[in-house]
Assembly symmetry: C2
Homo-oligomer: 347 residues x 2
DNA sequence: CTGAAAGCGCTTACAG
DNA sequence: CTGAAAGCGCTTACAG
């Protein structure tokens, strides 16, 4: 490997400005207080030397000496910059970049993390994790053990997406799906619907539970009667809709909604004329027969930005105070009224 | 700011394993040679202690002690992760991520760089540039002075995109547009076209010069006679085409091609029936009336990956050898035959 | 007001 | 075969 090219150091600047290296450090960091008082004249001289030499402090040395680095780690459990993952990660990364820009942080992507069992590992022999002041974790699925370890080691981090796989209090910024699901159900009820089908996937995620909770409480309150169907049973969907006399269908996400529409149309059921359809997830860009799909707008960029904010609070607070911080936050998704929930046809 | 939580260090590991801290370092880095010979037994003991304590070396300290960090900086002159810039940066970042994964590098995005005059600055008071072993530069436009400075300081870097704004030898990986432009002209000639219009923008970039060179040499050789039009003169385009009796139109990029098609169609000129159209740039996703636009496929991800490769060579070579390295590379764009260059209509 | 010194956690000659 | 020591470039008490 190449010999590290000799760089300008504070000692050099000190020599030029005719002061001690300590003074250079003090000026560089704008230190000024009760016990440090450097005359403006001296400061100016040092600044000039710094300017002339285009000196910048070595971040590694700063870090080693105990300062923070203004570097936020970004860990994704899958490649984040591939075309396929852009759909999910794109808005998140965008939010992170914007927030980082605002607070003056650089972003360290742990792309080198080795892949084991199809997912990246955060902790490995040469992890550069500690180079960052803290870390943002992204991914649909996360490793509980790694989360625990981060908590144990008191390393500042925030997960994007609600986490409940661990005992430990994991800081996160996630999304609340209960409220918008309720809102969509209310809308259906207001449009005279009484019987619904919920087409869901089989993943037990916190957001899936949210939707389920909202649906169950609506059922319990007798506002809308639900029949459930798994995503694997698309073939039986039209039959279920008919048997249940459902006039509205909620799908767990937009892709599933499209599949459902396809299946229903194929069985001679018109959407939304016979059966209204809505997705309980992001619907941006999804249309059915030219109609904007009813569903949510999920502010993923805001989630990411807020995650960075929480991380910043953690970094700025002494570890003893972490417990009193509000580090588990939920943001609401916004309802997209769309055009695929319409008034129930009178028979 | 939070007190740096106490971390496990090599000293601690040494204590546990009953060896010196030096030995821990040696084992950790798999050092073994003529003057270093640690018995497997000792190594094993140390490894166990490392494992048990889930110890990882502090990258800041490693860096300070002169080792490389396996961190590649990524500097973009604009925000790279915004939806608008994804079109351009997306494939590049994807290529970089893949290459980084392969060589085991982490990626440090300099998002904190302050914006001056609408563009980010790489050098500033607290640039974390030196934390990286080297840096990839991305952006349509780059600052010549910054490039010079990087060269002067012997900091390993590679620009994505050809650079010719400086005296100094700037390492880059760019694209050759001469060859594919020639190929497209050949194609037009083969399809009996004799007279063409070139609709271009007004940016003097290396790639713009490539296209121009190919067009001028074709003109000089009498293979295709060109009339030129600026992008701002779309209104006069149909007139120019008629006056010049052009049967094929080359546009500098796909968007311009679309504008041109729109303008021609509006003036009663059919494309490609009356006038064939091609873009001298990436055409992925562009269609005209259902037809795949003729143009190029630009391997942007490969460009980025190759840039990382060159960077790696720089990092691995002593500075004295840099001059003998092949650090200015051009990759060829591939021709997309498309469907908008057709045989010239016989009149 | 400013400097000499210790220390951050590592690596690497240099001695044993 | 292995350890004590110097040094990487910084920050920050602690003395003057």
């Amino acid at each position: 490997m190449a010999p590290k090219p000799r760089r300008v150091t504070q000692r050099e600047i000190a020599r030029i400005a005719g002061v001690s290296q300590t003074t250079v450090s003090l000026v560089l960091n704008d230190r000024d207080g009760s016990n440090i008082r450097i005359p403006e004249e001296t400061r100016e001289r040092v600044r000039e030397a710094i300017e002339a030499a285009t000196y910048v402090a070595d971040p590694a040395a700063r870090r080693l000496a105990g300062l923070d680095n203004q570097i936020v780690g970004v860990f994704t459990y899958e490649p984040a910059l591939s075309p396929e993952s852009m759909d999910f990660y794109g808005p998140l990364l965008n939010g992170i970049e914007r927030a980082a820009e605002q607070v003056g942080c650089d972003l360290l992507f742990f792309t080198s993390s080795p892949v084991e069992d199809g997912t990246r590992r955060l902790f490995h022999r040469k992890t550069r994790l500690r180079l960052a002041d803290g870390c943002i974790l992204l991914g649909q699925q996360m490793d509980g053990a790694e989360l625990e370890r981060l908590v144990d080691e008191r390393f500042p981090f925030v997960a994007v997406g609600r986490r409940d796989e661990t005992e430990a209090k994991v800081p996160y910024v996630g999304l609340d799906y209960v409220t918008p699901t309720r809102a969509l159900i209310d809308r259906a009820v207001a449009l005279d619907h009484e019987r619904a089908v919920y087409l869901h996937r089989d993943r037990p995620s916190p957001t899936a539970r949210d939707r389920r909770a909202a649906i169950e409480s609506a059922g319990a309150e007798g506002r809308l009667t639900f029949a459930l169907s798994g995503a694997e049973d698309l073939a039986g969907l039209a039959g279920l809709v008919r048997d249940h006399r459902a006039t509205v269908l909620f799908a767990e996400d937009a892709f599933l909604a499209e599949d459902a529409i396809h299946a229903l149309t194929g069985a001679g059921v018109r959407t939304p004329a016979d059966v209204s359809v809505a997705a309980l997830a992001e619907v941006r860009g999804h249309r059915s027969d030219g109609r904007v799909l009813t569903g949510f707008h999920v502010p993923r960029d805001e989630v990411a930005a807020e995650a960075l904010e929480v991380l910043h609070e953690l970094i700025a607070s002494p570890v003893e105070d972490w417990d009193s911080l509000d580090t588990q936050r939920l943001l609401g998704a916004e309802v997209e009224p769309g055009e695929t929930i319409v008034e129930r046809a009178t028979r």
